[in-house]
Point group: C2
Chain length 382, copies 2
């Protein structure tokens, strides 16, 4: 794996709005799929019977799976408290419309989820997470962890971190053990990453970074609450990253805004996964580069719903080489959005994912060729 | 234009679920867009300002537009009476869920529609339909007509036909006149088709076929109610087609099931448009050819929702050369459908549209090479 890579998220074995041929065309290097979702539907055993996730979704490049632990947060505590990973409070309307009851119970033994669709109770723990992820057969998998919320207090965050450390050792044990079985031999190259937790508390983050680094993981992921602001996130990364082993890849879970890519690559993060480009695209936000007026203030986005684009013949971004920008105008995208046409979701997702992948490529190139600071200045220091 | 052509429907300037690059890839020869929908959104004047429909939607092959008249039926009478063009009664649930009031008023002067989205009253008549279709700038446009329902009685159908004949002359007049203006010079090659009406009544169909044939149209479309069954439809086509001029193309509006293609091509229909392949695809019905078990009884379809496909590694149809069948299994499609993933709609639409376009190509080839009867027997006489 090359470093400085942005990993599009293929939650249910598909990047929402796109198919794998699109992802190859966009030159995505890795995709990340969700263990929890695939365990529930179609089921990891079914995927195993069908030859594993690569074959199931027809993707022969590397695949990442998460541990399922994040759902303990996003479907349990997070939904209850109506907040996301960076502490943003969801609007009440969203809470009401999603009608989420408390659906996750966490103990040292693992997590019990209630699946809203089937009503079934699902148990996850380190052993089961490893089994499921081996059934899926991704190239890189994650140790089972608990992701705390920015609203968790010190006591709770400490307990969750200790649980995560216990689970880290158990994940390693079960992973190595099951790789020795005959049926899992084909996965002997499967890498396992540990996850650093500890919320926004310095001593916990330091303890977790040291502990996870001391174990025999193939890479380190930084997860959990990264505080309540970008400043908090950077502070936390500055505590953690210097303590990580130099020779292991570092993945930052669920983060990947334009600003983050520049700043976190600089701090030493290698890989990112983020669902944001497709998610905001579906809601009308399309990326533009500085030459098209993108900046920190507008978050490098235009809102294609805006009626000022009704007669705009320009492509979304004049610097972009994607199929959408080569073939369609903002006016057409405005029309497709307003008509809620399926083609909108495809063309918007394609643009946003391509935009971020190309930006990450540029960042990588700029590091190799020593113009990172100029590039960063062009984008985020203007 | 070659004959025996199936025209995918791009209602709002997009074939639902696909983009124009897909349609080029699928070798679609013509697309049909809806005058009524585009008049309302984004507006035909906006499309004209943006350089016309071809440029707006980035499609440089031929385009058809309908007259807007069909909506007098489908949004007015049809919705009220809860039936479609072939007399199928919509289930009550659909009626209830769509909550359609009476929204079209028809008189000899034209049709007044209430647009449900904007609440605006829209008037259409022959002059306005020609203006709108010239603003859109398709290669082939349709005379303004009234499409009656299978529930319309003789008296009403006769009145509607007479109105359609009056409107046919007016459409011709306004079309020729406006083509002489400076601003419409670029559309001088725009063809205008007349529409034969008359419902399921022999003397009306005969009268209409003769009348429309006597006018200076570039082609003839057969529209309106085609009775209550396939037998009715074939009876009606047998009355009409022998009366049409030999040298003008004949288009059958809104019809295009597999059986219809064989039988109607045989009767002398040249072109078809049908929204069915994408519509049924979105609901889970995917086409299979006879080698995969397709036949008249199963309507050449499998229902991908069925859990028997959960572990099915086969492509949808083993004879199909589409991207979906080359790259994905029925099991993956079953998963995408159940997860309501956007990729499902794309891959399903792509398969169904490709399937019908390739079948139409085969039919065309079989006529040229004299094996039409064998092909027909393989498909619909088994």
């Amino acid at each position: 794996m090359k470093f400085e890579i942005l990993i599009p998220v293929a939650t249910a074995a598909t990047v929402r709005g796109l198919n794998q041929e699109d992802m190859k065309e966009l030159n995505a290097e890795v995709l990340l799929a969700n263990t929890y979702h695939l365990h529930l539907r179609p089921g990891d055993k079914i995927i195993r019977k069908l030859g594993g996730l690569h074959k199931f979704m027809n993707w022969n490049k590397p695949l990442f799976t998460d541990s399922g632990g994040f759902q303990a947060f996003s479907l349990g505590y997070g939904m209850e408290h109506n907040i996301n990973k960076l502490g943003t409070i969801f609007p009440e309307s969203r809470k009401a419309s999603e009608k989420q009851p408390k659906i996750a119970e966490i103990s040292d033994k693992g997590v019990a989820f209630k699946d809203l669709a089937s009503g079934k109770l699902v148990h996850l723990n380190p052993k089961k997470s490893m089994q499921i992820q081996q059934n899926l057969g991704a190239d890189i998998i994650l140790a089972f962890d608990e992701c705390t919320s920015p609203l968790s207090n010190y006591e709770y965050t400490k307990r969750a971190m200790e649980r995560t450390h216990k689970w880290a050792k158990e994940s390693l044990y079960h992973h190595k053990k099951s790789l020795k079985t005959e049926k899992n031999k084909k996965y002997e190259n499967q890498s396992l990453y540990g996850v650093v937790q500890g919320g926004e508390y310095r001593n916990l983050r330091v303890e977790s970074a040291k502990f996870i680094s001391s174990l025999n993981f193939d890479g380190i992921a930084i997860g959990g609450s990264l505080g309540k602001s970008k400043e908090d996130m950077h502070k936390i990364l500055d505590w953690v990253i210097p303590l990580l082993p130099e020779n292991k890849p570092r993945h930052l879970l669920g983060i990947g805004e334009i600003e983050d890519l520049f700043k976190c690559v600089e701090k030493g993060i290698d890989t990112f996964d983020c669902v944001m480009p497709t998610r905001i695209g579906r809601r009308g936000a399309l990326f533009i580069s500085p030459v098209s007026g993108g900046n920190l203030k507008n978050k490098f986005r235009i809102n294609i719903k805006n009626s000022k684009y009704k007669l705009d013949r320009k492509p979304i971004d004049r610097d972009c080489n994607c199929l959408t920008c080569k073939n369609y105008s903002r006016a057409y995208m405005n029309h497709l959005y307003k008509s809620q046409e399926l083609a909108y979701y495809k063309l918007a997702s394609l643009h946003n994912v391509n935009f971020m992948l190309r930006l990450m490529e540029k960042i990588r190139d700029s590091i190799g060729k020593n113009y990172f600071n100029e590039l960063k200045k062009e984008w985020i220091s203007a």
